[in-house]
């Protein structure tokens, strides 16, 4: 599975886990899915943990600035941003 598809599947799965119901890709993480910077950080921490268990494993790290910047993101924009920070090699 390609890295971006793995990221998309993981984010979609976690969203369904935390916000059950049909996915609306246009919803933003804050106004639409009602995450704040703390709960979005927990969401992203879960994404990081799950990606690390994929085969092959993917490595996604982030900080509070990234979490803050993604509050206004829709689902595809978030997927793109997480994919850009995800690598196939462990962070040094």
């Amino acid at each position: 599975m390609s890295k971006m598809i793995a990221v998309a599947s993981t984010i979609g799965g976690q969203l369904r886990h935390e916000r059950p119901g049909p996915l609306d890709l246009n919803k933003t993480m804050s106004a639409g899915y009602n995450y704040n910077v703390d709960t979005l950080s927990l969401f992203l921490t879960a994404i990081s943990s799950i990606l690390a268990t994929c085969t092959p494993p993917y490595y996604f790290t982030f900080d509070s600035t990234f979490a803050q910047s993604q509050l206004a993101s829709s689902v595809p924009v978030l997927i793109g941003a997480v994919d850009a920070k995800t690598s196939v090699t462990p962070p040094s």
């Binding site: 976690q14 933003t28 910077v37």
Partner: protein
Amino acid sequence: MVRPRMIGLLVAALVLASSPGKSQDLPFPPAQAKICVASAGGRTIVDKKQVAEYLLLKYAFNIVAAPEPTDPRLKNLDPGRRVLADPRICVDNAKCSKSDAANQQSARASVATLLAGLAVGYAPPTPPVSPDVYILGANEENAVECLQTSGKPIEAPGALFTAPDKSKSAFRIRGKIDDLFVDRAQVKAFEATSQAVLSIGEDETAKKRSETLQGVVAYRVDTGLLKENGQRLELIPYVQASRNVVKTRPESTAKPSASKAFNVGAMASAFIVVPNQSDPFGHVVNLRPNVLVDDFDDSRILSLNLQYVPIRNAVVNDFILFRSGDTELFWFKPVLDFRLDTGHYLDKGNGPKAEERRNFIRAGGQIGFALLSDILGPPMTLTSTYTRLQALSGDKDVGYFSTGLSFTLDPYKYFSVLANYSNGTRQDTARREQLWTVGLGVRF
């Protein structure tokens, strides 16, 4: 001589990005009629050229920045698909701006949502393929099927949402000190925070006039520490004023009263994350030295207040969505925190009970809920909390019930009309109060 391919790229640049960097607010996926076509096999499938052009309207990309492709498979692609199919288009490319790179990534991620089966109304290919492999092939290759029911397309939800206010101001205005750690960008959590209130009431029957001013002004300072995994440590100095005055006319039977208190302090707020696969835990710890100046009895209290807020997504201190079919009914947030207050009287003040006042240690917490709904029209917020602190030393327990209903008046939730009721012994002054407030609320 200008080559035909260059002319094609220039025309495409005009068509796809007539205002480079200006993306259009379009839903994704769009109505199936915009990106779906009938295939030779009798199915309705996504047309790759149309979806690429649509996505580059939504996420503008200055196609002039695209270099001549070296990969022969990219050379014969139309310009829209060429942008989506090349993940390295912006690598070491000075013509590619930061927004071009981000928009290309978002457009490719949108294709990924179709391929990962996240978009309602679309069936992904099996097995899933990467966006580049998908875009490179013909429509029938790894086709994404547009689903129908009873001959009609299944359309994905397409509402667009107002982005939160992008104001970077570090000032905050709230009703209660406890809400200072919630940021404006956290739209729903912000909507559920307390509001500063100014209320003036004239009661002609009781011949009295009531004035209420209650609010806290603060300034957030990010320490830059603890940033990994979204963790944070910030300092928030604040000043809170609380003033309730009842004035009576000579013929009134009501009793005049006046209560004025000021709190000055600083909150150190830390957010700590403990990873746990798909259910990580969050811990907010707020430590707050505070000086209370109570003009009611001229007392002064120096206190140290500790608050612990556990967070688990969709369980506690986070919103849970309740829906009926596809209709969102309301968002419900269970509220829970734990508190430890220690207080030392700098001045016991005056009045008959002044000498009885003793330094205190109180432990307890707060339970309650916030309920948010848009189904009535203007966004409605109902909050209800009960704060209970038991005196471990000193003599006064705290028990304070507070409930409020508000309707916000603007898209950023700054202003609202509200009705609040509170009853009990206040946490800061340890004095009993029973208060109805109807007025204009503001938070920032």
